[in-house]
Symmetry: C2
Subunit: 458 residues, 2 copies
């Protein structure tokens, strides 16, 4: 009996090991989908809802996907619909999902095979994009320790503020922890009915949350690189430089836009004082990188502000981070290539480094596959819902970029449309690169090079 | 006195020659803007309007730009507002504009300097994208003769039909000529109040017009290449193959979409019979490539059909054609690169040829600069008009792609918004490549190559 179990366990180990060796991406996808199903089952328990009744399948699936994919879109109000137990499940889902698809698969591989073999190496190397395989073993630990420490730090900054707001110690601790995890993982979930709306002018709450979201959205490769090289910008990796600089530019552009365009909008910044206008627009500027919190209803923004938010949400945050989108480094490579093309330069150079030509092709693939996914999803949702392009595009990009902002249609659209959003959040979090690798039917190398012929462009 | 004039003429020749040598693109832009201003002045003549009153400046400028940039967007109804003289000016504007920016500049260069020197060679070589400079001299003639013959052929096909519809010989000849020129040049202008709407089920009118638009949108390099190599597909240039195949696929995709999505729409295909549904959706499928005619009001289409039309209009037709957009070969190169990336191929191969790596960078530049122009124009027009994204995006892409389809807002938006559309039509017709070359402040070549470092993509 014991021997049979041992045999089966061995067979399981062998199976996981084989899949991992054949296609790490396919294993990662399976694991990630499995994690979502586990959390769907947990949220389907009657104890998970405030009413004590079993949640409908679509609401459990949608919330589980939204939590594990750190998106924050919801078909039911988190702070009202779910019980404390249900909210705790969501928080754990965010924490687990925020670690990243590949890291999760490595942890599973490690648990099953009990050795850090090729499996985990392949997986984590791809997630943290490290080239030194020797480091991989400690990297899983580093990722978990780093994220948890940073979450603890944010929670510690938030705790006294919640206490000052006359919450009990238990409440304050719970809210601090929830917001800290939700912020660092760019999840956008809130534990109370009105979320951050009542705290729209509260610098001491919003600034730590903004910082947490920004750091989380840089990605583990950047956080670890910067932590190692400290303040020496010149010694950072090219990837860290590109990510931090591009991220900062995007936040500044967004801040300027919201401040100017929404200055007199009676539904957003209009009624606020100067200081509050600055704070609210800054907070808004951090959101599209995939934070997804809101101190005011995004449905009140101008149409033009929706559009620029669409563009920012599509770009998203850093690679291998808690943010979604095509990633800021992808945008940076495209922009640098365009500048080089306009100048007639042979190479694409930046920060004293030459960017390999393959990188451009990867960037093109990620961007165009992303744009195609958004386009097709919009076509489907427009037909399903009969709504107008502005709100549908906003919702689709918010789901694809795992942002979680919404003009308010998430709970109103038909169930079939909500399944489309579930698929979008999954694809957006997994990433088009991993998805492509998992779906690829063959990987061949051509030896014979064909004669070159130039088509006309533009 | 005569000697002074001679001296001035010489100075003028030298000036044109110098600019042409320094920056052919900048000369071409200047010439093209000059042509538009000349037609604006002509349309500002009181005799140009049906009422005999001088047209407002914005209407004259808008119509002249729309004609010379072969777009077809109008702030006033062409067949009603303008006199026969005015309509003849518009027709000449279309014919001149359809030749292409670079060809126009070569003709001017030829007229001023009276010799086909480096000027014309540089210009026309860039327009028709030929690499054999020896051919350039005859190419201007070939372009004019080819386009005129094809227009005559279309007109000859249309003439008996108009006569059959009880028009006088004069009317029928005028309408045939107008539609033939408007179709081959993908201009979308119509000489009567209701345009092609009353002829929505008239195969004998619509099929020659569709064919004319398709051939015109392939571009002179393809037309000349196919004419020379006849039916031997395998002997066509790579560019001709890519253009014809991609164009055909896009038309088929559009046809299928419109047929299925609009089948029951009471505002479009719904009330029609089977045959008419097939014809109307086919005609609609040819439009976004930049034709711009309509047998039914585009404002009746579903939101999703608007969005797919947006995508098709953004792509447009062939390079150096009478169509706008980023061009089908640009799309083809991006798609092929993505397929190669997914397969893990080192080279981007198609039709037994390898596409150079520079082509991808050009394609990226053209596409992203185009997308940025559309995005920024949308932001501006959304703020100016207060309209929703769906109609504004449609109008902006229609202007940028020199398509001319509209949901009906062109004449209603404020004058400042119409100036934005004028700028868009100009940029769309001139092309982002030429514009970029004209604006480029320096063209340098780096000799020292920097060390390579790979950022993370996606
Ligand atoms: K989020
Ligand atoms: K047109």
């Amino acid at each position: 009996m014991a021997s049979l179990m041992m045999t089966r366990l061995w067979a399981g180990r062998e199976f996981v090991d084989r899949i991992a060796r054949q296609s790490p991406a396919r294993l990662a996808l399976t694991v990630f989908a499995g994690v979502i199903l586990v959390f769907t089952a947990l949220l389907s328990l009657p104890a998970a809802t405030a009413s004590g009744e079993r949640a409908p399948f679509i609401d459990a699936l949608f919330t589980a996907t939204s939590a594990v994919c750190v998106t924050g879109l919801t078909t039911v109000p988190t702070g009202v619909y779910w019980s404390s137990f249900g909210q705790a499940i969501i928080l754990v889902g965010i924490k687990v999902g925020g670690l990243g698809v590949m890291t999760l698969a490595s942890i599973l591989g490690l648990a099953v095979t009990r050795r850090l073999g090729l499996t985990a190496r392949l997986l984590t190397a791809s997630e943290t994009k490290t080239t030194r395989l020797g480091e991989v073993g400690s990297l899983i630990r580093v990722v978990i320790i780093t994220s948890t420490s940073l979450e603890l730090a944010i929670a510690t900054l938030l705790l006294p503020r919640f206490l000052y707001l006359n919450e009990t110690i238990g409440e304050a601790a719970w809210h601090s922890a929830f917001y800290a995890v939700s912020a660092f993982n760019n999840a956008g979930f809130v534990p109370t009915a009105h979320g951050l709306v009542p705290h729209g002018s509260d610098w001491m709450l919003l600034v730590p949350i903004m910082l947490g979201m920004f750091v989380g959205a840089l990605g583990f490769p950047v956080i670890l690189n910067v932590a190692r090289r400290r303040s020496k910008f010149s010694r950072w990796s090219l990837h860290a430089k590109l990510t931090v600089v591009t991220s900062s530019i995007l936040v500044l552009v967004a801040w300027t836009w919201y401040l100017i365009a929404e200055w007199t909008n009676p539904l957003t910044l209009g009624p606020l004082g100067w200081g509050q206008k600055l704070l609210s627009s800054a907070f808004l500027a951090f959101m599209p990188r995939s934070g997804g919190f809101s101190t005011m209803d995004p449905s009140g923004l101008h149409e033009a502000s929706w559009l620029i938010t669409d563009a920012l949400m599509f770009v998203g945050g850093g690679s291998a981070s808690t943010a979604g989108g095509i990633k800021v480094s992808t945008l940076a490579v495209l922009m640098l290539a365009i500048v080089a093309e306009a100048r007639g330069d042979q190479d694409v150079d930046t920060f004293g480094r030459r960017i390999p030509r393959d990188s451009l092709r990867q960037a093109v693939a990620v961007t165009f596959v992303g744009a195609t996914i958004v386009l097709v999803s919009c076509l489907i949702l427009l037909e399903i819902t009969g709504l107008t392009l502005d709100v549908v595009l906003f919702e689709v990009i918010s789901a694809f970029g795992t942002v979680g902002l919404s003009t308010g249609i998430t709970s109103e659209i038909p169930t079939s449309g909500q399944y489309v959003l579930v698929a979008l959040m999954f694809v957006g979090r997994v990433g088009t690169m991993t998805l492509g690798a998992a779906l690829a039917l063959r990987s061949r190398r051509r030896v014979i090079r064909l004669p070159e012929e130039r088509p006309i462009i533009g």
